[in-house]
């Protein structure tokens, strides 16, 4: 009797650990989702879909700090014997690595037939929905409507000297945005632009959220950020306005979230069911009304007034596969640029038509 309590504890622990493994032999309703969409937004959506479909959705989330690396690392490392069934990416560029490495399978969800072709792969290796956009957030107390910037390049103009902010270009969506500019303008013009930005005293914030805070506080007049951060500022009642830049030029960069079916997924049929649901108009609506205020790619999807429509916004024409390659090429240069080092030369990138 003396030893019964420790034995009971040990038994319970072993039982508990084993029960947390995937149930084998039961009717398999499991689907494993790896997602780099912020947990606070993706978890409610996936839980809702689990309720609706009866699937047992097991989730692995990424962190803000390792969004560019964390889950991709796992997916590539597990490629020979995948544990994930699908990857829901917060941006359209990172999945290109998976596609290049042969980790992605093709699947065209019937529910996504009305997604515009520029937001889906021709070989159905990925499907985009619910996008964020890169926008200019303007403090209306400091910038009258007639002086509002309309193009990203205006951040380098003398009227915004020491009054503009961007996030560190070595991280996140700012890297992606600059890669898009390098891709569209070519490296010569793009480097000249970011050098002008530096000479103009642009503030390098730690994140897009920090850019929003600087604009809301009036410490800078204008900042380049994402729509989800801008939406938080608008909803808080701060004196700010959102400008979708370059409407008369190259357009604003749209970054849809992307679903990718993993090649050799252990629960392929369940994964396909979940992708059908994820890429549905109902999820686009849910994400438009959520705090992240994502832009539905289907024009008919209902959205709140502060969320733009993909039809109204002139979207920059980008090839996300090429964007991934350009990002890889310019990353060392951007890191050095942000740190004020001159030891990294920009790669030669020709402008795309």
């Amino acid at each position: 009797m003396h030893c019964s309590t420790p034995r009971l504890v040990i038994g319970l622990l072993i039982w508990a650990s084993l029960t947390s493994s995937c149930g084998r032999g039961e009717p398999d309703r499991t689907v494993v989702v790896y997602t780099s969409v912020d947990q606070v937004f993706s978890e409610p959506v996936l839980k809702k879909l689990a309720e609706q479909t009866g699937l047992d959705v097991k989730m692995v989330f990424d962190t803000e700090e390792t969004k560019s690396t964390g889950l991709l690392n796992r997916l590539v490392a597990e490629a020979n014997n995948p544990r994930a069934d699908l990857f829901w990416s917060g941006d359209p560029v990172r999945p290109q690595t998976l596609i290049r490495k042969g980790v992605a399978a093709s699947y065209a969800p019937p529910s996504a037939s009305r997604i515009p072709p520029e937001f889906r792969a021709t070989d159905n290796s990925w499907i985009g929905f619910s996008a964020r956009a890169r926008v200019l957030l303007v403090n209306t107390d400091l910038v009258p409507a007639e002086d509002e910037p309309r193009r990203v390049e205006e951040l380098a103009s003398p009227r915004f000297k020491d009054k503009a902010a961007i996030a560190n270009p070595a991280f996140g969506t700012t890297t992606m945005h600059l890669a898009a500019l390098f891709s569209r303008m070519g490296s010569e013009k793009a480097v000249a632009f970011i050098d002008r930005l530096k000479q103009n005293g642009v503030r390098i914030a730690s994140s897009n959220g920090e850019v929003k805070r600087l604009v809301v506080a009036g410490e800078v007049a204008v900042g380049l950020t994402d729509t989800d951060d801008a939406a938080v500022a608008v909803r808080s009642g701060a004196p700010v306005r959102v400008v979708y830049p370059d409407a008369d030029g190259i357009g604003a960069l749209l970054m849809p979230t992307v679903a990718v079916l993993i090649k050799g997924a252990p629960h392929e049929q369940n994964a396909k069911r979940l992708i059908d649901q994820l890429a549905s108009p109902a999820v686009e609506r849910m994400l438009a009304f959520a705090d992240c205020a994502q832009i539905p790619l289907r024009p008919e999807v209902e959205r709140p007034p502060h969320v733009g429509s993909a039809e109204e916004i002139r979207a920059m024409k980008v090839d996300y596969q090429r964007l991934a390659e350009v990002m890889e090429q310019i990353h060392p240069f951007l890191s050095a640029w942000a740190e004020g080092r001159a030891d990294s030369k920009p790669p030669l990138i020709q402008p795309s038509p």
Binding site: E64, L72, N73, A77, S206, A324, H331, A336, D343
Partner: protein, 528 residues
Amino acid sequence: MRRVTVAGWGIGVAGLAGAALVAIPLLALALYPGQGGAVAESPWAVFADPALAGLLLRSVRLALLTAAGALIIGVPVGIRLGVQAGLLTRALAWIQFLPLCLPPYLIALGCAALTGRNGLLTGVIGLRGAERLSAFLYAESGVLVVLVISLAPLVTLTTALFVRMIDSTRVEAALLVRTAPASLARVVLPHAIPGVLLGGLLVFALAFAEVAVPQLLRVKVYATTVFTRLADLSFAPGMALARSVPPMLLVLFVAMLLYWLDAAGRQSMGLRCRLPKAIVSGVPGGIVHGALGIAAAAAILPLGAIAIQAFTERGGGAAAVWSARSALWSSISHSALTALFLTLLAIPAAWGWSRRPRLGAVGSLPLLLGFLTPSAVLGTGIVLCWNHPATQLVYDSAWIIVIGLAAKYGYLPFRALKLGFDRTPRSWIEAARLHDRSPLRRFVRVALLGNLDAVLGVFGLSFMLCLRDLDTIVLFYPPGAETLPVRTMTIEANAPPGLTATTALLQIVLTVALLIGMGLATRRWRTP
């Protein structure tokens, strides 16, 4: 044929565990085929790249400064705690210990809640002051402060442990002919040096390998570049391993030095005895209480900020606790299971190491390598090694967490229990031999039951290490089995501050409860 002793079996267990848990995953990385393989980059290529070499030097400097800060705070406090401590000193020491048991990431989150425009200190030091503090935090200086707060108690712990192991008769003899400060300087301090160095080395290794804090505070360190070699846009595990080699060699060299010092120090260890009270006057009280006060305040401020955020900010409350229930259970069950596994392994292995130090040191080398290898590298090795159809049952279950955490932290409980077993005098074993012929029974009665407090302490240490882990577990935790530190980190982006703070507070409460429980348990089973 010579019979294999319990000590021999123990060293064999340590060697096998090290090979299975660490050496094979690292080999899997080294043999990774293709462009990302180790052959693609020599370990010395780091020094050919000025930017990378500069980053390596900067990171070594940061780790050295962290170790120096930890030594400045930890050594006087550790000596005082080891010699004797009053109620106030002990209370402050417990507060100071708390950050060691929490993920450093949590301390960084607490510091972030204090500074900046919306920080809790804004009302006290004004907007400009709070922003200056924020600029200080989001830089190398901030990483240094967070890591010193988190890791200084490690030096306190190892120093106090070694001071407590000094044979008190030597100190009594010294006090007969010298003053208390002189006895302290000539007898106590030299014997505490292996403990001080052990603490400093552990702090250096942990600070050098830290990824989460520099990433949160946007500081580029060498460990991050190792991490990014594993993914960015070109998965290169072999190259990541190659880049881990130079710092691993550096720490390994210091560790060898430590083994030598340990062997020298061991000669002085006798029965655990309380040092004479008179020696206390040799420890300058002002320095000790000053260091402790600063350390305790630095520990309590960020944790207090988290608690305030949890109760006042949007997203906190019962709903936040409910949403974290699964992570809470994962944290407790995985940590308990791993701690049990590590303690059961450590008992024979540490006994072997204690009885045959040279052989034991060699047997424990793979586990030391596991501890020194950056988490991202070791974790990827574990994925490559265990993610096969034949081992799917393990990889899909919580056992993969046990394996991963044991590979990363196995060395520490082994080493700590070895220190506990070192207290057992040879005369006890010889006396037991006269009464009992069974080596196993002698081992259980003398080593195990005679050091029950050390065994419990090692279980607690292993539990804490697993509970606070973030960098290792995040790489392969089974889907749906996230732990509290992982959940805190993944919801931090864009979640209401109250939700993140409540999840972090749960971790703090759990840790405090565990510390109290461990304190009571070791008190109950203290070795006479």
